[in-house]
Subunit: 118 residues, 2 copies
């Protein structure tokens, strides 16, 4: 039932979360998937990357939360990701809208397969 791959294995707080909410335009799906895969690879290679959780429904609305050890790690990743995403927006118009929020996780707890973090 539970797919552990969908949940990020984050450490004890504090750490950082980048909350990316977006509406896909529906255009150019294959190219979008390729760009998304490149962004995922890029994130996973960055120092300080802790994991991500991502979901998009059939309407094209999605939320992706990536977790990071520090603001420096986010800044470094953003410099590379922005370049790719700018190409994406310029070429494909892949999002009709997005909102990006950088936040500091102060508390966390869970229920289910893994040890909880009270």
């Amino acid at each position: 039932m539970t797919d552990p791959e969908r949940f990020a294995a984050t450490p004890q707080p504090p750490y950082y979360a980048v909350i990316f909410s977006s509406q896909r335009s529906g255009a150019d799906d294959e190219a979008y998937q390729a760009m998304a895969a490149r962004l995922d690879e890029l994130a996973a290679r960055q120092p300080g990357f802790l994991g991500f959780e991502s979901v998009r429904d059939a309407s094209g609305f999605g939320v992706t939360v990536s977790y990071w050890a520090s603001l420096d790690a986010i800044a470094h990743w953003k410099a590379e990701a922005t370049h790719l995403q700018a190409q994406a927006l310029g070429k494909g118009g892949w999002y009709t809208r997005f909102e990006l929020r950088v936040s500091k996780v102060e508390r966390a707890y869970g229920f289910g397969a893994t040890p909880t973090t009270p």
Copy 2:
């Protein structure tokens, strides 16, 4: 294309985000929908509630981010929501797993329908 209802109209940071990632068990859908609707109403009535963004895919994995003016507002809401969710978990086993993270939004920007927040 863009449904403005899916995006939360948040103010300039700082404010708080509660990131709730969950895997639905698939059990008891009608009762779950009723509970989810009650939780949404409850949140919207709370002082300091700023909005939420929520998405769940066909596999039952979902991310809901609710936005709050203060930690006090979250604590007040949590006291009521926990009661409902405890009933939910006890009665329905509606989630096989969840992770909840409380974070402070420090920066935000967007692209699309609304004025951006650089």
